[in-house]
């Protein structure tokens, strides 16, 4: 158990890089955050922002070489970086569990799902075969798989996508982990099934007073679930803070840009022009100088932004931080203001 009031997970200056023929890819570049019991921390960003690599480096899941991980991952006070694999295995699965986007590729097609859940239980506890099997059925029941006792003898291909993701969650929760890392857990699912799975995650967290690290590109899911939000761009955290601060008082142009680019199902007018972010994300081998977002930024002042890298500085309270020289300009703008400035048909400018 962590000391009272202490973070369950403290990540400090985490780096993960890959050595390739083309050069060094800095996939995660100095990420820090704390996660407490009962909290949901969402890591958001687009493809290539480094959000999934962050999750994998926490658990020592990156093959090394070519990956090189440095920094601190303090789990209940103990540093997991560089921990020997046998020790790591005791943490992974038992104390920290993971759910991935694609359940099919993480399940063994040759074994029944009941056996796969029971295996995890046997691996991390001293239960007998019989007890582990009963636990597997109990978990399947808990995650809402109907007729669990019968379905435990089925194989993964006999389940639908939503049911497979439930099996993955059952496996993840079988040993009562303190932290669940969910990497795009509902991206492959239809929206009504997504609602079921998110509800299940939320309930489980409340029942077991564990914590969730949620990795997603979907800002709607973040708005519904996250207590704290971390926005990543090109391997770095560009904004971090309580969910309401990040959504309503965005201080980084990238966060604001994402919100202005997004069509909303609750948009009554629905005729606002969407505001794309100009250009494309940078190559992680040749990251732009200064602020890595500056070539795409509508708030930039080149003489500053292309030269000085902005620190992740506190604004309006210690909890809310943004890495932008002009964070005070950004906070006064709403996503709808950006949308109003988008030209329509007549003057449509070339974009990405």
């Amino acid at each position: 158990m962590e000391a009272p009031g202490q973070a369950l997970l403290s990540v400090r200056d985490l780096h993960a890089s890959f050595h390739t023929d083309a050069g060094v890819v800095k996939a995660v570049d100095g990420v820090s955050f704390d996660l407490r019991r009962g909290e949901v921390l969402a890591v958001v960003g687009e493809s290539g922002s480094g959000k999934s690599v962050t999750a994998m480096s926490l658990l020592g899941l990156l093959p090394s070489p070519p990956a090189r991980v440095s920094g601190q991952v303090l789990w209940k006070g103990r540093d997991l970086v560089g921990l020997a694999e046998p020790e790591m295995r005791k943490v992974r699965g038992a104390e920290i569990a993971m759910v991935f986007q694609d359940p099919m590729s993480s399940l063994n097609p040759l074994h029944t799902v009941g056996r796969q859940i029971a295996e995890v239980v046997r691996l991390h506890t001293t239960s007998s075969k019989r007890q582990a099997w009963e636990r597997a059925i109990e978990m399947m029941d808990l995650v809402g798989i109907p007729q669990a006792r019968r379905r435990a003898k089925s194989y993964p291909h006999e389940f639908s996508g939503g049911m497979r993701q439930r099996v993955m969650i059952a496996i993840a929760l079988a040993c009562d982990p303190d932290l669940l890392i969910a990497d795009e857990p509902t991206t492959a699912l239809d929206v009504t099934i997504q609602a079921q799975v998110l509800e299940l995650l939320q309930e489980t967290k409340e029942r077991t007073s564990s914590a969730i690290l949620l990795i997603t590109h979907d800002l709607g899911i973040v708005a519904g679930m996250a207590d704290e939000v971390l926005v990543m761009y090109a391997g770095k955290v560009v904004e971090r803070g309580p969910a309401r601060d990040v959504f309503y008082r965005s201080r980084h142009p990238y966060t604001l840009g994402l919100l202005a680019a997004l069509p909303r199902v609750d948009d009554e007018a629905a005729d606002n022009r969407l505001r794309p972010i100009e250009g494309t994300p940078p190559s992680l081998i040749h990251v732009p100088s200064g602020c890595s977002f500056h070539p795409r930024c509508s708030f930039r002042r080149l003489e500053t932004c292309s030269v000085d890298e902005p620190p992740l500085a506190a604004h309006g309270g210690e909890a809310h931080r943004a890495a932008c020289h002009f964070a005070e300009d950004v906070v006064s703008v709403a996503p709808a203001d950006l949308q109003r400035s988008v030209p329509s048909a007549a003057a449509a400018a070339p974009g990405p």
Binding site: A223, G224, A261, R264, V265, L274, S344
Partner: protein, 359 residues
């Protein structure tokens, strides 16, 4: 670029604007059954599309939404006759598409084109962008007369530069590749585009640019779109008319506001209530109608109403009587015996939320 064109207001009573004129696209009772391979009982069939009907006026966008396996993509392909329908009819500008001869179909296809989700999978990796965009012109024998100029115009129209035209697809980002796919679809100056999940594979910052491009092209060229997507937010943004599909059937159809503000089918309501909104206070104030279970197999769909196995309102009549897609007093057609209007997207007025104190 062509002269500035105003964007038509959306969400209004679409068909009224062109009252009297015949719809560009008329689809009636479209049915598609696929045989199941390796099935012991040879009569096993996947009922992919079952009695789909809609009209679409020139210059309008119909959003076709539903979850995987609902038949929305199959419907798109049947309309263009990329798949042969089991029965039903499709009329395009008055002409019978499903009964057309090969020659007639060829000339019709110039006027109706398809854009796919995966721009990479649908672009030949060994052809330059210039060749890809020129290909339809060559196939239809229209390249000789000013083809090169036409290709350049198309490339610029979709927001790419002519200097990029000698590059290959892999040198472009996802958003740019989708623009190339759109340029190719526009080459023969079509009237109708069937867009199958055209922005689903793109990151949001890039997706917005492609959505804007589609809106601009529609305003400039008077295009008509069938926009197939599972993303209900994008569909609300881009559509004039919306049809919601479940297990091969249209369960609700109407103008954008009919479907998004006055949803009356329990499935539409569940679907809309499940879409998360990127706004913490509003998202947490919403009531989610969570459906039980999974979509049943289209090989053996439920009797009566196909949604009844997951429907919170289901009663005996739902198992025996298939509800017709008709207006039951909601102002638009709904296939439910117990249709009832409910605003599930914005149950709490905006102003009340915005005045909430900051914790």
């Amino acid at each position: 670029m062509s002269a500035p064109a105003a964007i038509e207001p959306k969400g209004g009573p679409g068909p009224a604007a062109t009252a009297g004129a015949e719809p560009l696209l008329q689809v009636r009772d479209l049915v598609k059954h696929f045989p199941v391979r390796g099935s012991l009982l040879r009569k096993d069939e996947v009922h992919a599309v079952c009695g789909v009907s809609f009209d679409l006026d020139r210059g309008q966008t119909l959003g076709l939404v539903g979850e995987s396996g609902c038949g929305k993509s199959t419907t798109g392909r049947l309309v263009l006759r990329l798949l042969e329908a089991t029965s039903g009819s499709v009329r395009f500008d008055g002409a019978d598409v499903l009964g057309a001869s090969k020659r007639e179909l060829r000339s019709m296809r110039r006027r109706m084109q398809m854009v796919f989700q995966d721009p990479f999978g649908s672009l030949n990796p060994r052809m330059t962008v210039r060749k890809i965009v020129a290909e339809p012109l060559r196939i239809h024998g229209r390249f000789r007369n000013g083809g090169q100029a036409r290709v350049n115009e198309l490339i610029e129209r979709v927001g790419l530069s002519v200097e990029q035209a000698s590059r290959y697809p892999h040198e472009f980002s996802g958003g740019q590749r989708q623009r190339i796919g759109i340029a190719r679809a526009l080459a023969l100056d079509p009237d109708l585009l069937v867009l199958d999940e055209p922005v689903s594979a793109l990151d949001v910052s890039i997706q917005a640019g492609v959505v804007n491009l589609l809106e601009d092209l529609q305003a400039q060229l008077g295009l008509t779109y069938v926009f197939i997507a599972h993303d209900l937010s994008v569909v609300r943004h881009i559509s004039d008319q919306v049809a919601v599909m479940y297990l091969g059937r249209i369960v609700e159809r109407g103008t954008r506001d009919d479907v998004y503000k006055r949803a009356a089918h329990p499935y539409t309501q569940a679907l809309l209530s499940a879409v998360p909104v990127p706004d913490p206070d509003r998202e947490r104030a919403r009531r989610r109608l969570v459906l039980k279970g999974d979509v049943p197999s289209p090989i053996d769909p439920p009797s009566g109403c196909r949604f009844r196995t997951r429907c919170p309102k289901a009663q005996e009549v739902c198992a025996t009587e298939d509800p017709a897609l008709v207006n039951r007093g909601q102002g638009h057609p709904v296939a439910c015996h117990f249709a009832e209007v409910l605003d599930v997207v914005n149950p709490v007025p905006h102003d009340r939320l915005e005045t909430r104190p900051t914790p």
